[in-house]
Amino acid sequence: MRQLFSLLLALLSAASLGCAASDYHEQLVLRPLPLSTLLASFNFRSNITLSAFEAHNFDLFPRSLAQILQHAGTRELHLRFSLGRWDAQSWGARPWDGAREGGTGVELWAWLEAQSDEEADQKWRTLTNALSGLFCASLNFIDGTRTTRPVMSFQPEGNHPNVTMDNMHLLYGVLPHEVVCTENLTPFLKLLPCKGKAGVASLLDGHKLFDASWQSMAIDVRPVCPSGGECVLEIEQTIDMVLDIERSKRPRDNPIPRPPPGHELKCESSKSYHSGDTCFPVDYTAGQEWSLNQIFGKSMRETCPLTDPSVPPVCLQVPESRHVYLSHGAVEKKNPDGKSRCFEIEPGTGFELILPRLESDDPARSAAAEIITPETPLLYAERSFTGHGQERGGVQTILRNPSPDTKVEFIYMESLPWFMRIYLHTIEARIEGHSGEQEPLIKEVYYRPAVDRARATQLEVRMRVPPASTVFLTYDFEKSILRYTEYPPDANRGFDVAAAVITILNPEKNGTRYAVYNMRTTSLLCSLPTPDFSMPYNVIIFTSTAIALAFGGMFNILVRRFVAADEGPEIGSTIKEKIGGKLIKLLEKLGKAKAVGKTTVTETKG
């Protein structure tokens, strides 16, 4: 404790700088996308000096998270909560080049400092359990069977000057079945210094966020050492969501979709049959109009006073020609590239933004003038199951490189549950339409086979896709049969298989960034043979009956004496006599115990 205090004293001068206002940064970028959707990217970033962090003076850094990080020896942490599917065909490249998104469900990877693998596992368990409590998610279910140690796919984002890389253990866990919901957003907002009460975070609301077509919440904690400056621990929180504008504009008190009345229908008036009672709906990309209040359900409150005043809190990416109406106190600043504009907001005032419909006579021109055409991603990927039956199956991933002249080199990582036993020899990559000799597409394979009930399969493939071509990556697998207790309550739904992680490598080998683009495929639903769950009782009753039958027959043969029909005791032939005879017998038995059997023939008559 004394050491702690001497440290405290030593740090007094440094810490008095404390959490200066410029340490916090928040920004909302709005980008209208085709098909009447809108991408909203929230980004919050705050810092704490490593020395203050180690002295437990957390100031505005979330204490609950900081304690977990310290307790579990975590050097770098990445946590993702995602929902939905990014439609790359129409929405183009992903925000942040895919670096801030995860596969459906929850994804967690972290670099832990530990001397041995066992210690790392121990710390990982601590970390997942503690985060599970903090974020109200089932992260504690990330056990050995869902944890892998990726070799090629991930690189630390932060600077780790004081730690040798040998002691840094990367662990990666994923829960594809987890349903992300409001209870995960609330703790997420609590980590922000201004909570959800001020700044762009005041727009966030569980109803809208989890109603989005695609959303991803990310938390990244990494140490950053600026050249010449003191090392800081940076926490970056990101929320990206793609909102369906029409859907978001539905009034909250009347959320049930109903057909719009006739006069509100948007009709293509150029059609020859257009009249009062016939309508050909116009392409619904035309005419995006919205306001912040409509799509988020509320306007933005005053800016968070901690933010760096030089960073404009809200930016909008629309062509320069479009007009935007702003609330009082906001100033529009157009960027020189002509693609985006930002808004500076006077402290203490709220903010509202209205993007009116673009009135244009020429429908062909309006599409380009209305929104910025999305960038083409470096790679398209889709993954699906092939095959049929309950015993075997296959996985096929279609990877398409849209670029006409550059090849794409990437790492494809699968973290499969142990009950999908893959046949590694069947892994094959082929170019569509090509046959015959070609340069091998797969450069390197890292494979760690599963151990039943203990470890997941880990498959990392470094491969390339030539320009303007489509590659099919396929492999087969066998479905294993689970034990009775290993099935979840909804066993017939199937088992979620986590998304494949695709990390596109930087073509410049000496570049600062390891990956230029990240993406996830969708997760899969693998159906395994499910037993009839009343089976144990059926089996008990069936075997018992069989045993009883066999035993009863055998026992009776062994112990009974067989006599001729007329030698045995007489029993009444009608039901009445039978019952009467039994009653008398019973009475006799009650009266005095008398042996029944061959001697009682005359007595039964009496």
């Binding site: 405290l8 740090l11 977990i68 307790h71 039958l549 004496r561 067989f562 006599v563 042996a595 061959k598």
Partner: protein, 562 residues
């Protein structure tokens, strides 16, 4: 015994078993004389061979032997619940306080450098007499000893003695308690020294009463602890007034559960965006660290600090009444989660706001603990309302002085430190109170475990629980022997931790619920169809055997007659 068949004459195809030797002449009659046949006496089957009867007996016996000797043990072995042996009666003895009589022998050394050996011995004897007369509580015992006059008091005496009395000749009889070390200075006029023969002395009485006053609070607390627990009544001290007991109970419920380490969390909450930084490190180092250093032999402390903006309290009133105070902490929104790791968390909250607290009515018992600025939440921490100008962005260490001094005094009462006496005395008293407390807690946990084991016969008790219980008991025994010393506290601490671990063993809860309906559903389908033939076979065999015996007896009787 015979297979009973419906005598429906021709319809019955008499399946001839090897035993049924039916002569061809005795075939069933034709249906026409059926009625006449039934009324007539039926044919008797031929008598059974004795070897057949014996064989049937053997068959039935061997089946039953297999069931009893093989089936039952296997069933018992596979379905029995493991229950480790617990020394239940001993455990209950601990819980009832029969196993240990908590006695706190306190050694008090007297330094009388100016007195002769003989005089000093005499004074000591008289003082001890006076003390014994005053004391009515056997658990708390003050024993005097004379320290060698030339001894270096610092090293030798502090080790064993709870208090050192320095007798210094002076003009009048006064006593002063050294504020920094456990030393009581008593001055005395030289003429008050008792002569070797006198049986009473005013100085001795004075010393005794001073000692008693010094340890009065400790004695009261310990006797309260013992009396509130299920100690037998002969141990119970008399003369604890209800008011004193009431205030003691308040104090004990307020104090945190004992732990070797406490985690202190200092939080600055504001309802708006400002202030966003504070000089907490400097303030802690200046105002709180001295006390923490003093407490360090008993407790370790870890500290963290945080600033939380936009924190709305649970009560928005300008003037807070006593009822409001309990709901002021907005537990749902304020991030005050306990720290991870085993250490209990003490929360110290500075809330920037100009609310005021409605002063407690005059004369209420806990008036001293409540200023108009802060209040203490039992076993949890303290809230301090700090009014600041609304444009303050940074809270300086100077402004934190008052809050931190309040926190420090509240920390002492949260750890259960007694209120009177000098600080070193208070701390040594704290150690003794804590060991008594832990001892009682561990004993009562043992008692609960024993009662649980008795009340739930179907609960499994794994070996680790028995292990924990035996460890607890051995440490309890050691603690009981060394009560009052540092060792005793250590043993009591281990005993308490082990007892808790044994009581909250996870695997005990797992098998708690296995309903009897399930057992029925599993056993009935098998035991019904198998058990009924076995049982009937046995009954019939017994009947047949008795019948045979009777017949034999009758035969013998007729033979005798003949």
């Amino acid at each position: 015994m015979s297979a009973r068949r419906p005598l429906n004459n021709g319809a019955t195809s008499a399946k001839s078993s090897p035993e049924a030797t039916i002569p061809p002449t005795v075939r069933p009659e034709t249906p026409s004389n059926d009625a006449a046949d039934t009324t007539s006496a039926r044919k008797q089957p031929p008598p059974e061979k004795p070897s057949d009867v014996r064989r049937r007996t053997y068959v039935i016996l061997s089946f039953w032997l297999i069931v009893l000797l093989l089936g039952l043990p296997i069933w018992w072995e596979t379905t029995t619940i493991y229950r480790a042996n617990l020394p239940l009666s001993e455990m209950l003895d601990w819980a009832d306080g029969k196993a240990c009589r908590p006695v706190f022998p306190l050694r008090i050394s007297i330094q009388a450098n100016s007195l002769h050996e003989q005089e000093a011995q005499n004074l000591l004897r008289l003082t001890q007499h006076a003390l014994d007369d005053l004391n009515d509580f056997s658990g708390h015992h003050l024993r005097l000893q004379l320290s060698p006059p030339a001894a270096k008091e610092a090293e030798k005496d502090d080790a064993g003695a709870a208090l050192t009395i320095r007798l210094i000749p002076g003009e009048s009889t006064t006593s002063t308690l050294d504020p920094y070390s456990p030393i009581l200075d008593i001055t005395y006029p030289p003429h008050t020294i008792p002569s070797a023969t006198s049986s009473s002395s005013s100085l001795a009485t004075y010393v005794a009463s001073q000692l008693r006053a010094t340890f009065a609070e400790e004695q009261a607390i310990i006797s309260y602890l013992l009396s509130s627990d299920s100690m037998p009544s002969d141990h119970r001290p008399q003369g604890l007034t209800p008011e004193a007991a009431d205030s003691l109970s308040k104090r004990t419920t307020r104090s945190l559960k004992h732990a070797p380490t406490y985690h202190l969390t200092f939080s600055l909450f504001t309802s708006g965006p400002l202030p966003s930084s504070w000089d907490i490190e400097a303030a802690i180092a200046e105002f709180m660290k001295p006390v923490l250093d003093v407490l360090s032999p008993i407790h370790n402390f870890t500290i963290d600090t945080q600033v939380q903006l936009y924190a709305t309290p649970g009560v928005q009133n300008q003037v807070l009444t006593k009822e409001d105070l309990s709901s002021f902490i907005n537990a749902a929104e304020w991030p005050l989660s306990p720290s991870i790791g085993g250490a209990p968390t003490v929360n110290f909250i500075v809330f920037v706001g100009n609310q005021t607290i409605l002063a407690a009515p005059q004369g209420s018992p806990d008036e001293t603990d409540r200023t108009s600025q802060s209040w203490l939440i039992p076993q949890w921490g303290t809230v301090y309302l700090l009014p600041l100008p609304s444009d303050t962005t940074h809270v300086s260490a100077e402004k934190l002085k008052q809050p931190l001094l309040t926190f420090t005094s509240h920390l002492l009462s949260l750890t259960g430190t007694p209120q009177s006496g000098s600080l070193p005395l208070r701390l040594s008293t704290l150690a003794r109170i804590r060991s008594a407390d832990l001892l009682l807690r561990a004993s009562s946990t043992l008692g609960s475990l024993a009662r649980l084991a008795l009340a739930l016969p179907s609960i499994s008790i794994p070996e680790s629980v028995a292990d924990g219980v035996s460890k607890t008991m051995s440490h309890l025994r050691l603690a009981c022997e060394t009560l009052g010393g540092a060792e005793g506290l250590g043993h009591a601490r281990i005993a308490e931790a082990e007892a808790e671990r044994a009581f909250f063993e996870k695997s005990m809860v797992g098998q708690l619920y296995f309903p009897d309906e399930h057992k029925l559903a599993v056993y009935i389908p098998l035991l019904g169809p198998v058990g009924v033939p076995l049982l009937l076979g046995l009954l019939n065999e017994i009947k047949a055997w008795r019948k045979r015996r009777r017949e034999r007896a009758e035969q013998q009787a007729t033979k005798k007659k003949e």
